[in-house]
Structures are given as structure tokens and as C-alpha cells.
């Protein structure tokens, strides 16, 4: 039972990291209709930059986090500029563009950082363990969990209590109305893409102490994020957070308790959610 508790904490930490990465993706889709397939590559870029920057001191760790966030934001800005030119084009054209960008970015990252899985050097305190519920638990994971919770709370506050956050949510609900009150919705789209890129970079930096970062990181994160975004309801941040935690739990607790079905578990869960959901998503047949 205790072992499962530890696994559950792992799963929630993993889920919150995924939620930070996926929240921006779902907002960008909900607001501007941009499904950014380069999102996973931004996460990987953030991870690589954090690994390259942090050298075992607290200040370098902080610098790595900042650099990862900045590179994510810059990448988001590039995607915003690239997709803005495709206004009113099909989603498949966007997929072509953003998947192409992901391939280019992935190739550059592998060329610069090599094909190995890299882990950052974190301060010694984080290398140790702490006692949780009578069991040793890695300190770095606990720190990541804490930061992830803090970011989730800050993100919730930002979306619900600030003017910018309200504008974003309004754009998801009704673009025409946002334009009607004198705000250019395309500016909101661009801002959302930059912000979601920054969150992606940060999520990449945060996940490296636990998972490391390698050539597969981008694809894995993209796949999980897509599952989260769709299962959570396109454009819904609370839905994405719930789906992300569920995915995190399935990937840790589920896979350990039912190892025979491990490769199928997540896909089956997603298919079940999609087939059984009551509220129709965009593009579903209304009958």
C-alpha cells in the first residue's frame, strides 16, 4: 500500500509536469485554433538548456530554469509568427508547418547535444532523500512537485484574476466579442503561443532531474500532451490538468500494477474517454 502511495505521488508529480506543458497547448488551440505539434520540441529544448546551464549550484539551477523558459518563449514566438501567416488555412496545413518545425528543431537539438539521455547536475541537497509517510522519497522529486503545484496555482490565478488571463479565456469562448471590445484576438493568439512556449520550456527544465532529456523526449511529450488536450476537452485548462494527472497516474500506478497491459493502458484509457464522453467536442457529429 505504501509503495503504491509513493507511486501515486510520483504519478501526480509527473501529471502536474505534463499539465504545465499541456495547459499552453490546449489554450493555444482553444484561442487561435493552433495545434502546435512543435510543442514537444520546445519542452525538449528547455530540458537541454537547463542541463547545459546547471552545474550543481543553486544560482546555475535558477539560471537554467530562466534560460529554458526564455528559449521556450522564443520558440513560441517563432511559431506564432509562422502560423499567423496561415490565418484561415486548414488545420492540416498547420500540422504540416508545426511538424516540420518539430523535425527541424529535433534535428538541431540532437546535433548540438548528442544522442544520449542527459541529466542536470543539481545541488547536493536535492540529490538526497527525505522521509515521506515513513518512507524515503527523492528530494528532487519533492521539489519538482512543490514547484509544479506553485506554477499550477499561479497559472490558475493568472487566468482567473488578471485582465490578460480573462482576455485569453474570453478569446477561447468568443473571438468576435473580444474583437468587439477593442482587443485584437490575433494578438491574444500570439501572446498565448509565447506564454505556452515559455511554460513548455519551464516544464522541460523541471522534468530533467527526474526523467532526463534525450532524443525521444519531444515525441513522448507531444504524444502525451495531445492525449491530455483531447481527453481534457480542447481549450479547457481544468480539463487538461485533470487529464494530465490521470495520465501521470496511469503511466506510474497503472503500469506497475498491471504490467501485462502496460503498453496498451494509456491508449485504451484515451479511447474509452473519447468514445464515452457526453459533451461533444468540435467536429463531432451532433445527433
Amino acid at each position: 500500500m505504501d509503495a503504491n502511495l509513493i507511486l501515486a505521488i510520483d504519478g501526480i508529480a509527473y501529471g502536474l509536469l505534463l499539465a504545465i506543458a499541456a495547459a499552453g497547448l490546449t489554450l493555444a488551440f482553444g484561442a487561435g485554433g493552433v495545434l502546435n505539434l512543435a510543442h514537444g520540441t520546445l519542452v525538449a529544448a528547455g530540458g537541454y538548456l537547463a542541463v547545459a546551464t546547471s552545474s550543481g549550484t543553486w544560482s546555475s539551477l535558477a539560471a537554467g530554469m530562466l534560460a529554458a523558459t526564455a528559449v521556450g518563449a522564443a520558440g513560441g514566438g517563432v511559431m506564432a509568427a509562422a502560423t499567423a501567416a496561415l490565418n484561415r488555412r486548414r488545420h492540416l496545413d498547420q500540422a504540416l508547418l508545426t511538424f516540420g518545425a518539430a523535425l527541424i528543431g529535433g534535428d538541431l537539438l540532437t546535433t548540438i547535444f548528442g544522442p544520449d539521455i542527459l541529466r542536470p547536475r543539481v545541488p547536493a541537497v536535492l540529490e538526497g532523500t527525505v522521509i515521506v509517510a515513513g518512507r524515503p522519497y527523492p528530494a528532487d522529486r519533492l521539489a519538482v512537485l512543490g514547484i509544479a503545484v506553485a506554477i499550477a496555482v499561479a497559472g490558475y490565478g493568472g487566468l482567473h484574476r488578471t485582465r490578460a488571463g480573462r482576455l485569453i479565456r474570453a478569446t477561447v469562448d468568443d473571438r468576435g466579442m473580444v474583437a468587439g471590445i477593442g482587443v485584437n484576438p490575433r494578438l491574444v493568439d500570439a501572446a498565448v503561443l509565447v506564454a505556452s512556449g515559455a511554460l513548455a520550456g519551464l516544464a522541460g527544465a523541471l522534468s530533467t532531474p527526474i526523467l532526463g532529456v534525450g532524443p525521444d523526449t519531444a515525441d513522448t511529450v507531444l504524444l502525451l500532451s495531445l492525449i491530455i488536450v483531447v481527453c481534457g476537452g480542447l481549450g479547457s485548462v481544468p480539463g487538461a490538468v485533470a487529464a494530465a494527472v490521470a495520465v501521470g497516474l496511469v503511466q506510474t500506478v497503472g503500469v506497475t500494477t498491471i504490467p501485462g497491459l502496460a503498453p496498451y493502458l494509456l491508449i485504451f484509457t484515451m479511447a474509452l474517454v473519447l468514445l464515452a464522453r457526453r459533451t461533444p467536442l468540435t467536429g463531432e457529429v451532433h445527433r
Partner: protein, 349 residues
């Protein structure tokens, strides 16, 4: 203007003539390759055939049924593993392989389609992504049939009939693969011609209206999905015939994504466009990339990004765009203002 009718009919004749330019160029290029002494080139081209047939299958579902799909790798995989198993069991007749691949592909696509065609757009895409993941995972996990992650190698070459020698010569394999690819593509084009094409166009243009007119839209889409599964199954059989080995990576998410994007580059609703898109993607990934080892993703990414900006509407819209280019003044005395057919309506959203 008295000259207008003649100039217009002249123009129609010209555009009719232009229709035959791409197939003629393709056939000419194939003849050159077949006649050339370069066996490596012939093998490279014939290895493009299965992916091309898969692209045609994806274009049928994505373009004509209007359902963007990553899931056609499932019937493709089943067709391939069925063929591989038949060949390893000593049944090497290629027609049997093609028929078995098509049947198995149609059955798999029919079963999957029964659940999938009720959905549209992003949800369909994500469910088809689940299908792609499942097919790769099953291919890796079902050791006894698929050989697991090691795949199946040393598959015997097929023969056209029990008495004829096995298809091992690169030139013979190329001729065979080109014939099957062309026949499958032409059959798909003919089956989706005329009223059926219009019916599907109407169904994806305004589905509610089509339903209101009494059309069982989902049944149409299921039929198209199942038929496309047969095409993908044939592609799977060709994969074994041209490569003679298979691994789960051949039928996974990456293949599914790249084939869908090749179809988008081709123009989504055009099956010859899908063939051209598939050949373009494979040429960049497998031929051009030889000059920059290890950087195939970079080149492929550049191709994708460039295609978005340079080729709106895909390769299929290219002839119409060339016709629309401003012509030198000495060629046209008076612009006649006749509307030139827009590239086929694009309805995906």
C-alpha cells in the same frame, strides 16, 4: 467578341492536354529508370511503392471522406504481416498475397471504421492516432506472429505464378511494384469518380444537408474507409515484396504522420497528388538525405515548412496555379475574364 469561343475551346484543349503531362512524365521517368543499368536506383524506386500505395489509401480517407487519419497504418500492417506469414509458410504467389493483404486490410479497416466513422475532425484524428499506436505496439508485442521488435527478415521472394521464377531481380521488382501501384491508384480514382465523388463532396461540404436529403453519410464513410483499408493492405503486401523484411517501426506513428503530411503536400483530395507527395517525401528522406547522413529529419522538416508556404493547396493545385501566373503580354492579347476552375474545394477544417 467573335474570337472568344475559339480561344476558349483552344484553352480547354490545352488544359486537357496538360492533364496528361504529369502521368506521361511519370511513365517516361519510369522507363528511363527501368532501362538504366543502375540496380540500386531501381531498388530505391521500387521501395517507394508501398509507401505510395499507403498514401493513396490515406488520401482516400483524408481527402474524399474528409477524415484526417493516422490509422491507415493498421490495415497496412495487417496486410504486410499476413503477406510475410504466407510467404514464410511457403505460399509465394504474389496474386494470393495481394488478395489476402487487401482482404485482411479491408476487414481491419471495416472493424475499426465501425467505431471511427461516427467521429469527425480532431477527435477522429486522435482516435486514429490511438489506432496507429496500437498497431505498432501490437506489432512489437505479438512475438509469435510478428517476430516482436526484431521484426521478420529473410522472407522468401514472391513469384507471379507458381511456375514463374521468384521476383528477385531489381528491374523485375520495379516493374511489378510500379504496375501494382499504378493499377491500385487508377482503380481508386475510377471508383471515386463521378457521382460517388460528388456524393462525398456533398457529405463533407454540408453533412447536415446531406443527411436531411436522406443520405446515410456514416455508411458512405464506412464504405470508403473499408475500401481504403483494402488499398492499404495491398500497400502492406507490396512492402514485403519490395523490402522482404519488416519491423514494427515500419507501421508506427512516424510512418503514419509522415504519410499523412505527404498526402497534405500532395493536395489531400487528389490521389495522383498523393502519389507525387509520397514520392517527394521519400526522395528527400531516402535519396537527398544520403548527402547529409543523419540529417534526414532536418531535410524533411524543411520540405514540410517550405511546402506550406510555397505550395498552398498542395502539388495537385500546382497546374492551376501555373495557369494563373501572369503571362507575358505578347502571349495574351486580351484577357477574356473566363473563370478558370478553382482547385478542388478544400473542406477540411
Amino acid at each position: 467578341m467573335s474570337t472568344a469561343p475559339t480561344s476558349r475551346s483552344h484553352r480547354t484543349m490545352l488544359s486537357r492536354g496538360r492533364q496528361w503531362v504529369p502521368p506521361a512524365v511519370t511513365v517516361a521517368a519510369l522507363i528511363v529508370v527501368v532501362a538504366s543499368p543502375d540496380a540500386y536506383l531501381q531498388a530505391s524506386i521500387s521501395r517507394m511503392a508501398p509507401f505510395t500505395v499507403l498514401a493513396v489509401s490515406v488520401a482516400v480517407v483524408t481527402g474524399h471522406a474528409g477524415l484526417p487519419t493516422l490509422g491507415q497504418v493498421a490495415p497496412y500492417a495487417v496486410g504486410a504481416y499476413t503477406t510475410a506469414r504466407l510467404a514464410l509458410a511457403g505460399i509465394t504467389a504474389a496474386p494470393v498475397h495481394l488478395a489476402a493483404g487487401a482482404l485482411a486490410g479491408a476487414v481491419v479497416a471495416g472493424v475499426l471504421g465501425a467505431a471511427l466513422v461516427r467521429y469527425r475532425g480532431t477527435v477522429f484524428l486522435m482516435l486514429s492516432l490511438a489506432v496507429a499506436e496500437l498497431s505498432a505496439t501490437s506489432a512489437a508485442g505479438w512475438q509469435a506472429v510478428t517476430g516482436g521488435t526484431d521484426g521478420l527478415a529473410g522472407i522468401p521472394a514472391p513469384s507471379l505464378a507458381p511456375v514463374t521464377p521468384a521476383l528477385v531481380d531489381d528491374r523485375a521488382v520495379l516493374l511489378y511494384a510500379a504496375t501494382v501501384t499504378t493499377a491500385t491508384t487508377v482503380a481508386a480514382i475510377l471508383l471515386l469518380h463521378g457521382p460517388r465523388r460528388l456524393l462525398l463532396l456533398g457529405a463533407r461540404g454540408n453533412e447536415d444537408r446531406a443527411r436531411a436529403s436522406g443520405h446515410p453519410v456514416n455508411r458512405y464513410l464506412w464504405l470508403v474507409h473499408t475500401g481504403a483499408g483494402a488499398v492499404a493492405g495491398i500497400g502492406g503486401a507490396l512492402l514485403i515484396h519490395t523490402h522482404r523484411w519488416i519491423t514494427p517501426a515500419d507501421v508506427g506513428f512516424t510512418t503514419a504522420a509522415i504519410v499523412l503530411l505527404a498526402v497534405v503536400i500532395g493536395g489531400a483530395t487528389s490521389l495522383p497528388g498523393a502519389v507525387a507527395g509520397a514520392v517527394a517525401v521519400l526522395t528527400v528522406r531516402d535519396v537527398v538525405a544520403l548527402s547529409a547522413p543523419g540529417h534526414a529529419p532536418l531535410l524533411l522538416g524543411v520540405l514540410f515548412v517550405a511546402a506550406v508556404y510555397v505550395l498552398p493547396g498542395g502539388l495537385a493545385a500546382l497546374p492551376a496555379r501555373i495557369r494563373h501566373l501572369p503571362r507575358p503580354r505578347w502571349l495574351t492579347r486580351a484577357p477574356d475574364g473566363s473563370s478558370v476552375a478553382e482547385p478542388v474545394a478544400r473542406s477540411m477544417s
